[in-house]
């Protein structure tokens, strides 16, 4: 959308002010995320840019908060102190990975069913299956807290995993159904007529084609679980620390810059996941593009 050569001065001014406005909006979107990266290397115990820090004085820059994050208390002292951040990281990955696997399996199978032309009550079922994504987390947390405490699931890892699985499945259902639109069902018939049974058809024909959608759905489910704090707070016990819970506690009680270090790591993680999903999406579009020809 470039300006034509015959554009008047007024149109030029309009066009460039539009571009400036857009640039400002993009800046508004991105700047807050990147502002924390340099700050995590500051030696100051507060969230602020000190003058020394801005002048690049070496003593104002340090890795001390990163050291504290991984559990080494000071330079030279390599003994690992009891560390909530590393415990949180372990728990987050543990809960996240199991919940992701469950959500991906359940979601993919359901998406296969939903995409069949014969599916009865498709709209209603879809609305129900997507609802965990739409209902506010605090309501979900309240409901789960009431019900899970009745059946003894509060303060257990099982409870948290089940809750996070429920939250993650909508993403898998959405992405896999999206990959399945325009799926050529003749491929399944071809495979079956050549003598493959249902399982073989699924793993050899369907799975490779929908894999990009499955993986990006899984990644969405993972980041949802990894980022979730409300349910962990209400359904989990005090000892069940995850990264976001520890960040939350850090923000409410002691505002230690370790939070910024962990935030930087999380930004790096989200960049990695985003890149993966984008690549998968393009791959999927390419695959389906070939098929349409």
């Amino acid at each position: 959308m470039a300006l034509p050569a015959y554009a008047t001065t007024g149109q030029r001014i309009g066009y460039y002010s539009f571009l400036t406005y857009c640039a400002l909006v993009f800046f508004f979107l991105i700047a807050p995320i990147f502002i924390i990266l340099p700050l995590s290397f500051s030696a100051s115990p507060f969230f602020e840019f000190t003058r020394e820090f801005m002048n690049f004085e070496p003593e104002a820059w340090s890795l001390r908060w990163y050291r504290q994050m991984v559990g080494i208390s000071s330079i030279g002292d390599t003994t690992v102190v009891s560390n909530k951040w590393m415990l949180g990281t372990r728990n987050s990955f543990f809960i996240g990975i199991i919940a992701t696997l469950l959500a991906t399996a359940l979601g993919t199978v359901a998406a296969l069913g939903l995409s069949r032309p014969h599916m009865p009550f498709k709209a209603v079922l879809m609305a129900i299956l997507i609802s965990p994504m739409i209902v506010p987390l605090i309501i979900t947390a309240a409901g789960m807290f009431f019900f899970y405490s009745k059946i003894g699931l509060t303060h257990t890892y099982l409870g948290l995993i089940l809750a996070h699985t429920a939250l993650g499945t909508p993403f898998v259902v959405i992405t896999v159904t999206a990959t399945l639109t325009g799926f050529d069902t003749n491929l399944i018939r071809a495979s079956q007529s050549l003598g493959a049974d249902t399982m073989r058809t699924f793993f050899k024909v369907i799975m490779p084609l929908i894999l990009p959608g499955v993986i990006s759905g899984g990644l969405f489910a993972f980041i949802t679980s990894f980022d979730e704090v409300v349910i962990v707070m209400f359904v989990g016990s005090v000892e069940q620390i995850t990264i976001p819970k520890q960040m939350w506690a850090g923000l409410r009680q002691e505002t230690s810059p370790v939070i910024l270090c962990m935030a930087t790591c999380l930004v790096a993680l989200s960049i990695a996941l985003l890149t993966t999903v984008e690549m998968l999406r393009r791959r999927s579009e390419r695959l389906r593009g070939i098929k349409q020809r």
């Binding site: 991105i30 969230f47 599916m119 009865p120 947390a141 429920a166 990006s216 999380l266 989200s270 984008e278």
Partner: protein
């Protein structure tokens, strides 16, 4: 054709079954197969998600805490004409039920009784301790001797609200109403009216956030949709990265930006726009909530807008310009109406998410920025008034359901775009 069919009967398959029947059977099998594929997830969501939500809804009208602790008292209480003081019989059953009850259940019941009339909790606690010394009747006088409150009909009348096993009381509380002692609906006392204000504030913040998201999101979606692919893909990262970044990380980032010694204030001080001692109070108020939520929810506006704008053919605009419309006029008459589905999708999505927000208002909102979600959390964790917590949640959920239904009608839930 019909002639031959009627003479030879319906078309048969090779098995000798009519084709219609056979086809129906095959279709039914297909339907069942499709449903079987969905059923594991359906059952899972039902058990781990929908039943808990239902449990919460049940709790919002449940009023049995007391009926299970003082069942006999309520039996005789129902016979009382609500004039003057109850009879000796009511006092007597109350005496025995309180004396023989467990401390834990009395605690729960008295908490509920305190919601109807404050003072019940301390009265029961004190009485239960002293009842041990009373051996025989008449009980009425002895109970009144322990505490004058037993002679106050107000307390007895307050119990009338709890006779039924269900109550609408929590819903009334959630909109600043209550039952008076004769079960009429009245307004809460002036200083206890907090929820209507909170509802209005929640709507105000959500509408403002939606509006700002639209104002910021529409131009950049337009830019993204009209730029050549290689540039727009790059810029799209700017939208998707916040979308993928942890909500808490983004809130932390904003705390770094907005606090008293934060980036924005520092910039203003450094550029000598304000003096060091009167830095702006940018955090812990409603404005901060609106700013931060706008940034957090902007991707949810841009993604649906972008996907709709991408489908608007550029030839429409060219045709309008060709026919002599000025660019602004063409944009207003041609492009905007075509982008309306995206606008409604984006606005509904942002509003739906904003209305139930909890984390951001809690962290940057201060006292002024608390929304309904924060009150739900407060009653869930701090006051343990779970009935009220559930009622607030149920009202919020009802609003969400209406919006969700509208979204489904307008956009179709399966069209949600995730990047």
């Amino acid at each position: 054709m019909s002639q031959t069919q009627s003479s030879t009967g319906p078309i048969l398959t090779t098995d000798g079954i009519p084709l219609k029947v056979s086809l129906k059977k095959a279709e039914r099998i297909n339907k069942i197969r499709a449903f079987l594929l969905v059923s594991p997830l359906l059952i899972f969501i039902l058990v781990t998600f929908l039943v808990p939500i239902g449990d919460m809804l049940a709790r919002s009208i449940d009023d049995r805490q007391i009926n299970t602790v003082f069942p006999k008292t309520f039996e005789v209480y129902k016979k009382w004409d609500r004039k003057g003081l109850p009879s000796e019989e009511v006092y007597k059953t109350m005496f025995f039920e309180l004396k023989n009850s467990e401390g834990y259940s009395v605690g729960k019941a008295s908490t509920r009784m305190n919601y109807s009339k404050s003072g019940w909790k301390s009265l029961l606690k004190k009485s239960k301790r002293k009842f041990k010394k009373i051996e025989e009747g008449p009980y009425k006088e002895q109970m009144i001797a322990i505490d004058k409150k037993w002679a106050d009909p107000e307390y007895w009348l307050a119990l009338g609200q709890m006779v039924d096993p269900t109550t609408m009381g929590y819903y009334l509380n959630a909109v600043d109403l209550k039952y008076d002692s004769s079960k009429n609906i009245v307004q809460q006392k002036e200083n206890r009216r907090i929820y209507n204000k909170t509802w209005i504030k929640t709507f105000k913040v959500s509408i403002l956030v939606t509006l700002f998201c639209l104002l910021l999101g529409y131009p950049i979606s337009y830019l993204l949709a009209t730029l050549p692919m290689k540039y727009s893909n790059l810029l799209m990262i700017c939208v998707l990265l916040p979308f993928w970044t942890s909500l808490l990380v983004r809130t932390v980032a904003w705390m770094v930006m907005l606090q008293q010694k934060g980036v924005l204030n520092n910039l203003l001080v450094m550029s000598n726009l304000i003096a060091d001692e009167n830095r702006f109070q940018l955090m812990y108020n409603q404005t901060a909530v609106v700013i931060v939520m706008t940034q957090i929810l902007l991707p949810f506006m841009v993604l649906p807008l972008y996907s709709v704008m991408k489908t608007i053919s550029p030839t429409y605009m060219r045709a309008a310009l060709n026919l002599g419309a000025s660019p602004m006029h063409a944009f207003y008459k041609i492009y905007m109406p075509n982008s309306v589905p995206g606008v409604s999708a984006g606005c509904l999505l942002v509003f739906i998410i904003a209305i139930g927000y909890y984390i951001t208002p809690e962290l940057v909102g201060g006292k002024d920025g608390q929304m309904v979600g924060n009150w739900i959390a407060y009653h869930l964790k701090t006051t343990l008034n779970w009935g009220l917590c559930a009622a607030l949640g149920a009202i919020l959920l009802a609003m969400m359901t209406v919006l969700y239904w509208a979204y489904n009608k307008i956009v179709g839930i399966e069209n949600i775009k995730l990047g």
